[in-house]
């Protein structure tokens, strides 16, 4: 008689048993009722809330409507960040497909698999999230939250437009940097708590990499602050109103390179290739989140995409004139979204083309090349103010000349990019090759 292992019956004990029974009993009654009169209940609920807020606001605490406004804005920001992450996950897989001459997800959702990340989320939610036996329980459970929450908090201080910001503190640039700095702790805690040597290596690499790349990141931003004199993101954005040539990236040559060093450092700070050593798949299996499964893994995954957009948003606001349009039209948050998504696309593009670099090369790159270079840029940008002020007409002329020269270089780069796209599309048959054409109906 062959032995078929029977699943041990699961006994819900104590409080969870009571809650489970209560919930099912209550749900059984309330939900069908609600379904029949869904719409009236919904409208009634809104009316009640508004009335409550108005009454309390009028008589008890005049601040309440503002609190509700802030609450709604925060929930909106949270939703925006989640949407950004969801679109990011789906976008990354489509971009990867396109770069590797395949289609990417096509099945979930009708058009080009748009519901892929929702399906992933659903799959992860019902996956069992294991905890290794000797893992450090509370730290293991806490790590994803410490990785995720700061990434969301960074959005509080990010201005999408002049009035479009939750709270415009005059240190909002530093606030966003600080929030991105806390994320390290979550990853290190996760790596340490999963009690496996591989994830400990991932945590160690994460520790070295992020702490050391914060300095060049901060310094290249300081170069921009030195040029405009204020640390508040809104004022930084406002300083770049006017067309293409008034953007901070073309303000002086030092700032032009500061954008690129900032971008490289931001790649390292949100663990994107070629700096994705903490979860170096081919060496460390999956780095710090090897032992994580189910919804905890989704949090780490989300944190990465949310941080990615936050870092690109910072770059657009400071260097690429955030919500101002290059061609002089009205400056709306739409421009901000376009530029940020373009920078996020570049991060994905880099990930699927470049291999990973080694941990000692990461360190050498930071200490020997990036740090001195950004120090030089900061020095140069602050000294530039001596030249670029109206009292010295000669220097001022020279400064303006260089100013427009850099703008033209920027235009050339953009033109090069679009030319590459047109060239790629024009002879896609030859590049992709018949092989793919025969097999890929949609390519």
């Amino acid at each position: 008689m062959t032995y078929i292992p029977q699943r041990p019956p699961v006994q819900y004990k104590g409080l969870s048993l009571v809650i489970a029974r209560l919930a099912t009993w209550l749900g059984g009654i309330v939900i069908p009722l609600l379904l029949q009169l869904a719409w009236p209940v919904f409208i009634a609920a809104i009316v009640v809330i508004v009335a409550f807020v108005w009454v309390v606001g009028r008589f008890i605490n005049p601040l309440l409507p503002w609190i509700v406004r802030d609450f709604i804005v925060v929930v909106g920001l949270l939703a925006f960040a989640c949407i950004v992450a969801i679109i990011g996950i789906w976008g990354e897989r489509k971009v990867a497909g396109r770069i590797q001459s395949r289609l990417g997800p096509m099945r979930t959702g009708v058009w080009h698999g748009w519901a892929q990340s929702l399906a992933d989320g659903l799959k992860f939610v019902q996956k069992e999230d294991l905890i290794p036996r000797e893992a450090d329980g509370p730290l293991f459970r806490l790590a994803p939250y410490i990785a995720l929450v700061p990434a969301f908090c960074a959005y509080l201080a990010l201005p999408f437009g002049v009035g479009w910001v939750f709270r415009d503190a005059d240190v909002s640039l530093l606030f966003v940097l600080a929030m991105l700095a806390i994320e390290v702790l979550g990853v290190i805690m996760g790596g340490w708590a999963s009690n496996s040597k591989w994830s400990l290596y991932g945590a160690m690499r994460e520790g070295c990499q992020l702490v050391s790349y914060e300095i060049p990141m901060g310094l290249s931003l300081l170069a921009a602050v030195a040029a405009t004199g204020s640390v508040s993101l809104v004022q930084l954005g406002e300083a770049q109103s006017g067309g293409w040539f008034s953007w901070l990236i073309f303000r002086n040559p030092f700032l032009f390179f500061a954008f690129f060093t900032y971008y490289v450092a931001s790649l390292a700070s949100c663990k994107r290739s070629p700096f994705d050593l903490p979860e170096g798949e081919s060496e460390l299996v999956a780095g710090f989140h090897t032992e994580y499964s189910g919804f905890r893994f989704v949090m780490f995954f989300f944190a990465e995409y949310v941080a990615m957009f936050a870092v690109s948003a910072l770059a657009t606001i400071i260097f690429l004139g955030g919500w101002h349009s290059p061609v002089g039209g009205p400056s709306t948050p739409l421009w901000f979204l376009i530029k940020s998504t373009f920078l996020v696309w570049v991060q994905m593009w880099i990930r699927w083309t470049l291999p990973r670099i080694r941990i000692d090369q990461v360190m050498h790159a930071c200490v020997k090349y990036l740090l001195p270079f950004t120090l030089l840029l900061f020095l140069g940008s602050s000294l530039w103010q001596l030249i670029d002020n109206p009292t010295h007409p000669v220097f001022e002329g020279f400064a303006h000349l260089l100013h427009y020269g850099l703008g033209v270089i920027g235009l050339l780069l953009l033109g090069l990019y679009f030319a590459g796209m047109v060239y790629g599309y024009w002879n896609r048959n030859r590049l992709v090759g018949q092989m793919a054409r025969k097999h890929l109906p949609g390519a």
């Binding site: 609190i67 005059d170 940097l177 600080a178 806390i182 290190i188 340490w192």
Partner: protein
Amino acid sequence: MLETVIFFLFAAVAVVAGLAILLSTNIVRMAYWLIAMLISVAGLYFLMGAYFLGVIQILVYVGGVAVLLVFGVMLTSRQLAPRLRPGPGEALWLVVVATVLLIGLILSVTHARFDQGAIVASNSVAEIGHSLLGDFLGPFELASVLLLVALLGAAYLARPKAPVQGAQQRKGTAI
């Protein structure tokens, strides 16, 4: 009313974290309780309107110092674990020092005059910048020299023990 609620929240977290640091034995948990306390102190700074100080507290302390502290603690936790339980002799000294400090604290709290002066939330970043490089330039430069010395000391202590023999590819790169 809301501020006082949040203030007591942050204060409670800070006190609980401080106590937890003293009481817990797992050294990695102590490090994370320290981080919780630092963040709650940063929250208090925000409440007082000193935004720059709060942000720098998070950026420097939590983002830098605490990460390296956790880093070090994780690597050496096995060697230090047994020494965390105070022996009989040490317990006596602990009690003595604790009482002295407690008395000092109580006296200073009772005699201090808490005046309710309004806190001016101005554009503090510019002012801090001017004062740092203005009248406080001396201590500012002195502090940077001190940090430089500490940096050199750490680098000396962590120098590669002996050049790694047989590194036929490249000179020893001790990580």
